[in-house]
Amino acid sequence: MSEASIQRLQSKTTLKEILEVATEFERTARDFYTDLIPKVHKSIRYLVEELATEEQEHYDLFTQMAARDDLEQQLKVEVERPTSDHKFSDCIHLPDLGEQPDDQAVLQYALRREHAAMEQYHALAQGTEAGPIHDLFLYLANEETKHKNELEKLYYATVHSGGV
Amino acid sequence: MFELDRSQYPQKKADGTLDIDLTSGKYLKLWQGPQHPGITGNMAIELTVCGDEVVDATTHVGYLHRGFEKLMERRTFMQCFPIVCRICVPEPDFNEYCYAAAVEELAGLEIPELAHWIRTLILEMGRVNSYLMYLGGQAGAFGQGVIGQWTTYVRDLMLDRFEELTGARIYHMFIIPGGVRDNLPDGFAGRMEETLREIESVLADVDRVMFHNAVFKKRAVGVGVIDTAWLDSYGITGPNARAAGVAKDVRKDQPYLVYPELEFEAVTGKDSDIYTRADVRRRDLLLSLDLIRQILSRLPKTGAVMTKLPNVLHWKIPRGETYVRGECSRGEYGYYLVTDGSGYPRRVNVRGPSYTHSIALFERMVINANISDVAALLVSLHTYPPEIER
């Protein structure tokens, strides 16, 4: 485990730091999906494109947040590091989905990722005081939950169709 | 006073037409009906009178022709069911029964025991209504209006019983091919008993005021005699025949439904005049009240009311023909049904007893009658024009 990772596992951290990791999380995901688009079969490209768009939207949210002057003080506040943090940051390390991953592989990866994100944002929302940052995490947790549900439905319809 | 044999007068020519000079001023053509207080329903009598004596009469029907028999040839067997009752308004149930029984016979259907009992009950209830209506009409034909008011009141009570049993007062549409539509409602027998008692009470009054009435006797006794020799040649049935002393009653002669299990004797008279026919009907009415009591005390309390039918929307009945008859208040009611294997009756012929009684027989009986007796005579034959014209 790298020096940076160990530091991440320490129990206290600042919101700023968390936000940075989260921003990185969304950015890498966006880039991952964007890179994947030409690699997958055209029939499932829509799936990867949708995932990339989704992540881009979240990334935009975070960068706008970081640019806001009024939040400077709050970002320095120390918060309890969520227990889900390690799962979440693990997801930043991107797996190799192979030469031409199929829809099931993409969906499985995306599901795992959304799940980790959902847990992380939920925990962060609980650990922050009421305010714009709290609202942001709540919003993100909600977004990720919705997204995960959509993906699960898609996964079920695609893979477990029952094959009448 | 004319002393010769009235039946020979007026004389006829070789071609059968009357040997009279209508332009002589001695004769008068008189239409009784179709709108006339002295007519029964929608028909008319064209009378030729000489003074107050009828010398010739022609009945005119056709005012009420609805073409039921033809209509039925274009309706499925189940679709015929709601229209047959309309053939005879005052006593519609015989149409329902005869039609249903004919269809069941040709289709090879057995109907449940309970349905037989309920059918019999309904037919007797209908007979009661029919006679009550007749009594009012017979008295009214002699100008005695109050009897009709009384009998209409108790007939209304019986219509209440019909309403609670069948869901309708006049056109009951309850005896359906396959059985009857439902069982008796709760407490029906009790309410029927009250009705029967009220009818009996009114009939006691009718007996006092109509039958023991000097005017009625004066007008009705010895008038409109039907000769027993005419019975077969004119096809005379029912009370018209029984008043002549001949015990013709389909309920006895060719028992149907549950009549074999009921205790009764055919009601007869002997003088065969208007009075006797009225009296036979009054006593037959009392018999019906008794039969209703017998039925209600003996019918099964539970059980199926209908047999399983095929899908009635395309019910086909094998080729065949049958004649089903029953004893209605006027005599023998019958349905002749021919089927050809299709979904529609090939031919239906309805025998309403009024047809023979009120056309052929009446045209003969009215000759030489006094014009003031014509209405009473027609009523005494118990005429329902709707069944003449199907």
Binding site: H41, K42, S43, I44, R45, Y46, D103, Q104, A105, N149, E152, K153, Y155, Y156, A157, T158, V159, H160, S161, G162, G163, V164 | T76, M78, Q79, C80, F81, P82, I83, V146, Y153, D160, E163, E164, G167, A168, Y171, M173, I176, R181, D182, P185, D205, R208, V209, M210, H212, N213, A214, V215, K217, K218, A304, M306, K308, L309, N311, V312, L313, H314
Partner: protein, 600 residues
């Protein structure tokens, strides 16, 4: 006559002192009896607009009319009975015959209006004060005017069928078929529901009339796969049958089979008649399944030269290689296909497009190409160990069984899946196990609970009869493999719930309830996909796609104007939908190949 006859009538005077018997205020004091046949009521929640009331009404008093706010949906025409009380004779046959019991009568008989047109209204839609009347005519509890129970289908008992692939359903004899056909009320709700819009009431009438030749002609108007659909159709028609509301739906599928079973194949071909004169146009069809062959049949009948490329050795597609023979005998399928080839359709078997001939070649050689390749690739759960060689896919095994290949029958096996394919493979393997080892050891695990199985209820019933051990609510976690690499079985967790409150897929497992189901083989039967590799990279990139499937217009044409696609591969699995799709693309192709007259 005596003196008493003079005095007696005077007793009538006693009535002077009686109270009148007339009801003083009949409009308010005289409600109709409990059974009174008064103005109609119609329960809009129950009425399906089948129009049986209109059919039986001998007065023509009932008209079925559209009603604003009541759309036509599957099983409901959206029409409602409007009753003309100038015609109604109050016989209540409409109530007696009503297929849902929605139509009843109130005991209300009094209604005063100056406008006669108001006496023509739609009960239940046009609100009336008697709509909530408690009394009034109700039909007898038992429905008397038609039989409500389905004629039982003779089937082989489990002991008689378990050791072979003999067809289970025996088919109606003529008498049984007539009785079943008799129950149909010809409302036509089924026609609207059937994807191919088969003339169902008409061919059922042909059964009633015993006119099977007419029946065959009616079948072939809309469906060249009556042997197949008469046996394995998903029969959504029966789900919208008016008879299902108060009894069993008409056995439409079995009646179709009955018709086609009655007429010899040569006669069928004769009845259909010869195809139209050749047009000189050539069409290639990829896949000899129901969609491809239906399109082939239609196009051949229109005079086009049709060549069908089929990768397998025989036609029928998934109906042959997916559906076991005990449900659909191969000879039945052969009969349907023989009629199609008799129309001049050439089927090239063992010709795999992409391998034996390329799409580019087809594009060059033909005026139009239809892609009807079905869903022949099985999905995998991809749980740990699922790459073991003894973990198989149901579609592959079923194909092997049909092809007559030797299968290493396991003594025990586990099937993953709760759909019809899972049942098919479980029951097929059970038969093979019985033949090989004299006993059946098949466990079937499904994510769903029994109430939500995707398989037909009859499949589940018959599987249980055939000793399949069906375990519901089990989520597969891993294929258990011992140190020597031998497959031991399947590890599952109990499924607590599959769907969340919003009915989305969100399985929740209980790891504490872990089970290992013994099996030398595990068969995955969770779903299928189309193998589109035959398209090649260039065509794949050229084509437009829509959420995983080739994009088609409403007529089945793809973004490439020479290529159409039909059937399971674009519409999902269903035989009758595939047939309907085949018709659709055939029509579209014919229009494209026929020179249009210039419009002014």
């Amino acid at each position: 006559m005596s003196i008493s006859d003079v005095l007696s009538p005077f007793t009538a005077w006693k009535n002077l002192f009686r109270d009148p018997v007339t009801i003083k205020d009949p409009l308010n004091e005289r409600p109709g009896a409990a059974r009174y046949r008064g103005f109609h009521k119609n329960d809009m929640d129950k009425c399906i607009g089948c129009g049986t009331c209109e059919t039986i009404c001998q007065n023509g008093a009932i008209d079925m009319l559209p009603v604003e706010g009541i759309p036509a949906v599957q099983g409901d025409s959206g029409l409602r009975p409007r009753i003309d009380y100038g015609r109604c004779c109050w016989c209540a046959l409409c109530v007696d015959v009503c297929m849902t019991g929605s139509l009843t009568m109130s005991n209300e008989y009094k209604w005063v209006e100056s406008d006669p047109d108001l006496f023509r209204f739609t009960p239940g839609v046009d609100k009336k004060y008697w709509d909530n009347a408690e009394l009034g005519y109700q039909r007898h509890d038992e429905k008397h005017l038609m039989p409500v129970a389905r004629e039982e289908m003779p089937e082989l008992h489990p002991e008689a069928r378990l050791d072979s692939f003999v067809e289970i359903v025996q088919g109606y004899n003529i008498e049984q078929a007539k009785l079943e056909a008799d129950r149909c009320v010809s409302c036509g709700l089924c026609i609207a529901t059937c994807p191919a819009h088969m003339a169902i009431p008409d061919y059922i009438k042909a059964v009633r009339d015993g006119d099977y030749e007419r029946g065959v002609q009616l079948l072939y108007e809309t469906n060249p796969f009556s042997q197949v659909c008469g046996r394995v159709c998903t029969h959504c028609c029966e789900d919208s049958c008016a008879a299902r509301h108060e009894g069993d739906p008409i056995a439409i599928r079995w009646l179709k089979r009955h018709i086609i079973d009655q007429v010899p194949q040569e006669k069928v071909i004769e009845l259909i008649g010869k195809p139209a004169a050749p047009t000189g146009k050539k069409v290639a069809i990829i896949g000899a399944g129901p969609a491809g062959l239906t399109a082939a049949f239609d196009l051949a009948r229109l005079g086009h030269a049709v060549t069908v490329y089929e990768a397998q050795a025989a036609g029928g597609g998934m109906t042959r290689y997916g559906i076991p023979e005990y449900r659909l005998p191969y000879n039945a399928l052969d009969r349907d296909i023989a009629v199609i080839t008799a129309m001049g359709v050439e089927i090239k078997y063992n010709q795999r497009v992409g391998t034996d001939i390329t799409m580019q070649q087809l594009e060059a050689d033909y005026d139009a190409v239809v892609l009807a390749i079905g869903l022949h690739q099985g999905r995998s759960t991809r749980i740990p160990g699922s790459d073991h060689p003894q973990v198989r896919k149901a579609v592959d095994l079923l194909r092997q069984i049909t092809a007559g290949e030797t299968i290493d029958v396991p003594k025990s096996m586990v099937v993953i899946g709760g759909g019809n394919v899972a049942m098919d493979i479980a029951r097929s393997m059970a038969r093979l196990q019985l033949q090989h080892y004299g006993e059946i050891r098949v466990t079937l695990t499904a994510l769903e609970d029994k109430a939500h199985f995707l398989a037909d209820p009859v499949e589940i019933k018959e599987s249980l009869e055939e000793q399949i051990n069906i375990l519901d609510s089990r989520g597969p976690q891993a294929c258990v493999i011992d140190d020597n690499g031998k497959l031991l079985g399947l590890k599952t967790w109990k499924v607590l719930s599959i769907f969340d409150a919003e009915r989305r897929f969100a399985p929740k497992y209980d790891p504490a309830d872990e089970q290992i189901h013994e099996g030398e083989m595990i068969v995955e039967a969770i779903g299928q996909m189309a193998d589109v590799s035959l398209l090649g990279d260039a065509l794949t990139e050229k084509l437009e796609w829509n959420r995983g499937r080739i994009q088609i217009d409403p007529n089945g044409r793809t973004s490439e104007n020479w290529l159409w696609s039909a059937g399971d591969c674009v519409k999902g699995p269903d035989v009758i939908n595939a047939v309907a799709d085949g018709h659709r693309v055939a029509t579209s192709i014919h229009r494209a190949l026929t020179p249009q007259e210039a419009t002014a």
